[in-house]
């Protein structure tokens, strides 16, 4: 079949799924952060040549997909499927972001966990033989997310310290089966690596689909706490399904829990007997310099986990510094209406295992 179910929520790829290409686009603030030099392209003013913020976000996706295809020397018509999603109503940034490529589309919504959702479904599509190469793409933009979920920028409201800072970024990933990977160009970081031999091949070997976990949080300024229980549940379930321990991973990487959410995550896993503190990394904490950039608890948004994966995590895997990571983007499931009507904010987190090197079984 190409993939098989192990345990309660995990799927093991029995046919290889390769990360063939990736590209990231980020905004000004992100370019000034600790990972600034790692993004493929950064914008000077976060507008990316567009007049409307929503169009700027779509443009970021378009640039990310274009660069991903160029790195792999592929054309849009070579791609069998694209899985795309973002934070805006009806995923409209993704719609206009990938419209021009004319690739068969599945639109996704997983809030900030969309990168994990898109990679999971993409990997299963390839392993099961339904596609040879698929694109996964997502984005978020500070200005559009503020307008959608809080207030437009013109309102100039202040945020509490528990609030996240929506990352302005987009990233795209091209997944491929063995045949396509072995016969095509697959240099992830052409500006840094000399040749394809200098990079370790990266595979997606397992995915763990997350369950929604509702902790009764209603404060959209406290989303780290809303998402941490979901991340803990997915990580715990993954380790149980695969009979692995924390030490089997070089890093366990959450999406955008921030400083507060990360603390909650470590406490929750600690009570279940898993100590991840030495191997945990949170994309939302890594992307900004909290001391200098006044970003409160850290970055959030679909673009946060996606761009950090594209720019930094895959780079470490490609260089061989890390051999196996569990990538767990986290999402807070709310709409403006559900929030205003006082509904809880359930969390979700999808686990994706990325491994580098030849022998990955």
């Amino acid at each position: 079949m190409g993939c098989e179910r192990i345990g309660s929520q995990t799927v093991q790829m029995t046919r290889p799924v390769y990360m063939m290409s990736t590209a990231s686009v980020a905004g000004k603030k992100e370019s000034e952060g600790p990972l600034g030099s790692l993004f493929d392209q950064v914008g000077k003013d976060d507008r990316f040549g567009e007049k409307k913020w929503e169009q700027s976000e779509s443009r970021m996706q378009q640039i990310a997909v274009q660069m991903t295809l160029e790195k792999a020397k592929k054309k849009a018509e070579d791609v069998d499927l694209v899985f795309a999603g973002d934070l805006l109503s009806q995923s409209i940034a993704s719609i206009f972001g990938v419209l021009g490529f004319n690739i068969p589309l599945y639109g996704l919504f997983g809030a900030c966990s969309t990168a994990g959702e898109a990679l999971s479904i993409g990997a299963m599509s390839i392993a099961s033989g339904f596609a040879h190469q698929v694109l996964a793409v997502t984005s978020s933009h500070f200005a559009t997310a503020e307008k959608q979920f809080r207030f437009p920028l013109q309102y100039a409201s202040q945020k509490p310290l528990s609030a996240g800072w929506t990352v302005t970024a987009s990233a795209a990933f091209l997944l491929a089966d063995e045949q396509t990977y072995k016969t095509g160009a697959h240099l992830l970081y052409p500006s840094h690596s000399q040749s394809e031999a200098a990079e370790e091949p990266i595979q997606i070997t397992q995915v763990t689909t997350g369950k929604m976990v509702d902790f009764g949080i209603r404060d959209s300024f406290h989303m780290g706490a809303a998402m941490a229980p979901a991340a803990a549940d997915t990580i715990f379930t993954h380790l149980r399904d695969t009979s692995r321990t924390v030490c089997d991973y070089d890093r366990i990487i959450t999406g955008d829990l921030g400083k507060i959410g990360s603390r909650v995550l470590k406490e929750l896993l600690g009570t279940n007997g898993y100590d991840i503190s030495e191997r945990h990394m949170d994309c939302g904490v890594s992307i900004y310099d909290a001391g200098k950039q006044d970003t409160h608890t850290g970055g959030s948004g679909c673009g946060c986990a996606a761009s950090v994966l594209s720019a930094m995590i895959l780079r470490k895997l490609a260089s061989g510094e890390w051999k196996r990571v569990l990538y767990v983007p986290t999402g807070a499931l709310l709409s403006k209406t559900s929030f205003n009507e006082g509904q809880n904010i359930p969390g979700i987190a999808h686990g994706v295992v990325l491994e580098s090197g030849g022998n990955t079984r």
Partner: protein, 119 residues
């Protein structure tokens, strides 16, 4: 000079109290706004708010409490002159300058300034 100081501390005190409400309770911003307007109506009805406006000027009339007070006064006056219909016309008549002013000035501001990303 005392006018400025009184406006500053009264207006500031109202805003500080509401900020505490925003941060220490789970009340949604919309509810707090409604709460302020209704409180202003009540304070006006009990005759407490007008003396405060006299004392603090804009410090008391600009916050939403002041809007509630204006609504109360407008409706009261219109009820006296127009009878029952005044219940529906009075509030908006009295609040017209403030509401229309906000519309016109924000429209003008949108010509002069473009929204920017937060730093």
């Amino acid at each position: 000079m005392m006018d400025y100081i009184n406006a500053f501390w009264v207006g500031g005190a109202i805003c500080a109290l509401v900020q505490i409400l925003l941060e220490k309770t789970k009340l949604l911003p919309g509810r707090i706004m409604v709460l302020l307007v209704c409180t202003g109506v009540l304070l006006g009805a009990f005759g407490i708010y007008d003396p405060l406006v006299e004392y603090a000027g804009a410090g008391a009339s600009v916050p939403l409490l002041g809007f509630g007070n204006v609504l109360w006064k407008g409706i009261k006056k219109a009820l006296e002159t127009d009878g029952f219909l005044g219940l529906f016309t009075g509030g908006f008549t009295a609040g017209a300058a403030g509401i229309c002013g906000a519309l016109v000035f924000s429209y003008l501001a949108s010509f002069l300034f473009k929204p920017q990303m937060k730093k």
